[in-house]
Amino acid sequence: MDLALTESQEMLRTTARSFMEHEAPVDVVVGLQKAESSLDPDLWRKAARLGWLGIVLPAEYGGSGDSLSDAAVLYEELGRGPLPGPFFSSGVLGALTVLEAATDEQRRRILPAVASGERVLTVAITEPNTSWGPGGITLAPQGRNGSFVLNGTKLFVSDATSATDLIVAVRTGDGPGDVSLLHVDAKARGVTARRLPGFLSWQCEVSFDNVQVPASALLGEAQRGWAALAGALERAVPLLCAYIVGGCQAVYEKSVLYTQTRVQFGVPIGRFQRVQDHVVRLVNHLDSARWATWEALWKLDTGRPATASVHMAKAIASEAYLEVCNAAHEVHAGMGVLIEYGLPAHTQMSRTLFHYLGDPRWHKRRMADALEW
């Protein structure tokens, strides 16, 4: 048993922490919040140069071939911002989906450009019914002679306004899992991506209006799309959880510092039991998310059955980030809701990720199924 990071993980953490402090301090993160696209070209180039965009990809596809646990160290640091940008959408979920679904030729065509940052992927799964299982996919392409025509809408697609390539899950049969994945050019005629307004962080509507998709756009085999996506999700979700853990950690540190420095009634407010209790609640959620996430990563990296652990980690992490932000708002009162202070960026992200890729109730039920109760 060893619950410490390895030496190389510690080094990666130091690099990433320093990157975040210099390139993405709170004013940068706050400044990006209202942008239509989450991608800041300068940050994106630098991240690509550090090899972060291909961190989960094997070397043969231009990646660094790191373990998921290694990548989690990076995503914890990115989550501290919370740094916007399609890091996860493209570099993790997009990359792993292509890796799971595509033919080797397709992989070689797509993935190196993902690792280098030239291509930006996002995976379009859910629709207005907002279900994250295969049953929620109803968008069915027309046309048969090899090519496809798409008409319809995908919703809550992360970072679609900065994507160059969309991986679209479509229904191609009547069986529950008869889903195929199409690789669609985000600039193709008839494709429109729009950031949804409100208390959401770069979740987009993508609409397809008579979009012509060539036969070669089918990733791998038809009807095998859900199996591939499920495999990619199982490995991607714990990295989203790591991003959340990093967010929780940053909010925790902000809150502790505030209780130590904010003076009311002549003493730092951390002396008041009620304020302490908000912090206690916060750290309990943080640690729950952290250890559930890391155990799931360990199971995946060591080839153990991990499905139940992954669902549990997402359920815990989703709830944790929401509750951590709530507790932080109680600690900070007025200061916490000032946009420029930076806490609202976490709060909005916590709401966004609460449901993204499945909310706690959905994951708890999948967990129970996986445990075969």
Binding site: P128, N129, S131, P197, G198, L200, A333, G336, V337, P344
Partner: protein, 414 residues
């Protein structure tokens, strides 16, 4: 017991009169969700105009004494008025005027006859709106710790310097009232004074603060509060209410009201709209309200709004029947705030991400769900954090201190 106000025939006639008047005078356009800052301001002016019309009839502050320009009506008539404006999703006053509502209560209790005559009619008639200035960078929960904003007597005037934060809303104000430090070396609670002043005096300037909540006066933009700077602002000594260094005592009146002591009747707007949304929105062909998960969440949410209504009703009764109160004011406030915050999560779980967007297609009508998601958080701190409200409750229950604390007085000479 009787949980309902019973109406006489005269009162029922009054209700018909009010309803008819409102249907004629409330512009249909005020129900819109503003789409831009300019639109927000236009809507604000429409509401101010409505306020002046209500004020002219004595319906803006219906129970306020008639001799100062209020309605001089009894509680039953006030309830009718509130219920009727509530049908238009409005309150009395129909715009952000908590400074007027709370400030006028303090003046009525603590002002001299001259001050009442000078300050109250413009408020009650809707001619002015008023913001309250309490919080300072170093004095939030610890409101009695106000030190940064000071007033020094100079002949017939006071000179005010300093800074207040988290003030008001958008679109400016006519009047402000504030607590300032008039004895920097004085004892806690005996060193503050309460002033009612003109918002346009030389030396007063404002700078907006962008908040996570939605617009203070409607709209789905970020909420705006102000930082207000005082640079040697000269005010007449007549602006001092309740006497020098008596400001804390004066403030307890409005704090009791702000902490829920006054109680509330009326329906819960979030609930009504949430239920309607869940009945009208289908997922996979079935209305949300018919799905067992959502139904269970709705039951939990409904019960909390009902308890809040019952606490509000009780406080309303205690206030107007002049029964003794103890912890009930801060209890209502605490319950309302913690329920609002809890509800953000409950609604998010029940409705899903549609609760997070103002998108006309994929969100809820007028973005009211998204507004609740933000404001359920932002509403937790103004008027005292939930921590402070529990401090109040404990003191009044008689366990926080060696002597039990009494509720502030909210009745004045009438």
């Amino acid at each position: 017991m009787d949980f309902e106000v019973t109406y006489t025939e005269e009162q029922q006639r009054f209700r018909r009169e009010v309803r008819g008047w409102l249907e004629t005078n409330v512009p249909a356009s005020v129900s819109r969700t503003p789409t831009s800052p300019e639109d927000n301001y236009r809507r604000y002016l429409e509401l101010r105009d409505l306020g002046r019309k209500l004020g002219a009839k004595g319906w803006l502050y219906p129970t306020a004494p008639a001799k100062y320009g209020g309605g001089g009506l009894d509680v039953d008539h006030a309830i009718i008025l509130e219920e009727e404006v509530d049908r238009f999703d409005l309150s009395l006053p129909p715009y952000y005027d908590s400074g007027g509502r709370l400030g006028s209560a303090s003046i009525l209790v603590w002002g001299t006859e001259e001050q009442r005559q000078a300050f109250l009619p413009a408020i009650y008639r809707g001619e002015v709106r008023t913001w309250q200035l309490l919080t300072e960078p170093g004095a939030g929960s610890d409101l009695a710790g106000v030190r940064m904003t000071t007033a020094v007597r100079d002949g017939d005037e006071y000179v005010i310097k300093g800074q207040k934060i988290f003030v008001g809303s958008d679109n400016g104000t006519d009047r402000i009232w504030m607590i300032v430090c008039t004895d920097p070396n004085g004892k806690r609670h005996e060193n503050l004074s309460w002033f009612m002043i003109d918002a346009n005096l030389p030396g007063i300037s404002m700078q907006p603060m962008e908040l996570m909540g939605t617009g203070g006066e409607g709209g789905t933009d970020s909420g705006i509060k102000q930082t207000v700077f005082f640079d040697d602002v000269r005010v007449p000594a007549f602006a001092l209410v309740g006497g020098e260094n008596k400001g804390w005592t004066v403030a307890t009146t409005h704090l009791e009201l702000e902490h829920g002591g006054g109680g509330r009747i009326g329906r819960n707007r979030v609930w009504d709209r949430l239920l309607r949304y869940c009945q009208e929105t289908k997922r996979d062909g079935v209305p949300l309200s018919q799905q067992q998960d959502v139904r269970d969440s709705l039951a939990d949410i409904y019960i909390k709004t009902e308890v809040q209504r019952l606490f509000g009703l009780r406080n309303f009764y205690l206030t107007y029947a002049r029964k003794p109160k103890s912890y009930e004011g801060p209890q209502l406030s605490y319950y309302r705030k913690t329920t609002g915050l809890w509800m953000t999560g409950a609604i998010l779980e029940a409705v899903g991400p549609a609760a997070l967007t103002t998108d006309p297609t994929w969100g809820s009508s007028s973005g009211f769900l998204e507004t609740q998601q933000r404001n359920g958080i932002v509403s937790v701190h103004p008027g005292g954090t939930t921590d402070i409200q529990r401090v109040q409750m404990a003191r009044r229950i008689g366990i926080g201190r060696s002597t039990r604390e009494k509720a502030g007085t909210v009745h004045g000479a009438e």
